[in-house]
Amino acid sequence: YQRRVHGKQWYQRRVHGKQWYQRRVHGKQWYQRRVHGKQWYQRRVHGESTLRVLPLSSFSSFFTNMSGASYSLTTFSPSGKLVQIEYALNAVSAGKTSLGIKAVDGVVIATEKKPPSILIEPDTIEKISTLTHNIGTTYAGIGPDFRVLVRRGRKEASKYNLVYKDPIPVSQMVRELATVAQEFTQSGGVRPFGVSLLVAGYDEDGPQLYQVDPSGSYWAWKASAIGKNAKNAQTFLEKRYNNKMQLEDAINTAILTLKEGFEGALNEENVEIGIIGADRKFRLLTPAEIKDYIKETD
């Protein structure tokens, strides 16, 4: 007899007087059976039967434990695209707008911070994070994924410092983050990150701004925007950007650009701005400072 269970084909068979459903998984024969209300999967291993209790829902995550090999969930489509990465980019485009501008003497990154309710404490939301003293980052997309990447980034920076007793260069930090993002497009049982990062830093090579995508590609930008309003913001920045911009001008331009696509009134409670200047210390602007800058742009 045969039956479809959770989309997978099972064949029915009587073994030792008990009803069993069997299926071939990766060339190995598995038998499925309900015992005492729990779903059991039995398999012959080296001639002996081994019983494993697994919740039915995790049957598809079999792929990670028995044979030792892990199969990636991100696979090529016939047209040569990695569809999971395209979808990840969709998640990024659905996220709140973030942008970054590189000036002659520093870099500024800014992001919208609209809490879903007025009851949320706004100063506990951290959309811009420090990776090292002189490198900061923000994102567009899924917040928790950002947290994971920040954690990894901080660890890699510390590991580098442990070996070389030298702060990690911005380009190397970005490379590490991008490598992590790429690993998650090729490893078993994981999905790509649903965030694009904007990394701002100042090191021996001067001020730098990079973008890291879920695919693991990264570029250096003079100015860039990611997220919901990215296209319009990018066009706006293209018009407004010039190579001789100072950090102060860059902050004003950043606020103006955010204002363009902002729903409602822009004030110091619903944006987060981080800057790094010639002092090479990344810091967030206080709400009071942001208020002053907003006033300047009016």
Binding site: K165, D166, P169
Partner: protein, 208 residues
Amino acid sequence: MSIMEYNGSAVVAMTGKNCVAIASDMRYGIRMQTLAADMRKIFKMHDQLFVGISGLATDMQTVEQKLRFRTKLYELREERNIKPSVFANMVSSMLYERRFGPYFIEPVICGLEDKKDQKNVPFICTTDLIGAQCFTNDFLVAGTTTDQLYGVCEAMYKPDMEPEDLFETISQCLLAAVDRDCLSGWGAIVHVITPDQVITRELKSRQD
């Protein structure tokens, strides 16, 4: 018999005015037998960074290869030369990784690096076999001849010597010291590193 005395070596590094010098003997021996008088114990990592390694010869070779590997990768990734102080820390980490089965070597790192406000600042550093670093401004010694080398260097060293003067001093120190140690000698080589060039000279010494 200590494993560090199986092969025998003498390495010394000294700082001068915007220059550093590193010198070593050239003996390759096993216990009391000398097999060659042309063994290199100082290796160039790049134009402004040299490392001299004393101790067990096999570990000297292996560590040199590993350091070269790590340095090359660093240069490829970061697109710049590794600074001597950063290199010294890398050596220290690498040796400590083998804390409980160490490489039986004592490296001496020397080079010139740019600090925040000064260019071509001399840098010398030595570590023990498990990576404990020692930084000084004047001179550092390693190998089986350390006792002798400490004596002569302390007596003959002056700060802020010009390259030629530095060469003379370090050569005389090394030659005098290895004469009192049977496990080192059989030739000597000196590298003097200045901001524009590296001068390497082989010394004619007693072949015993």
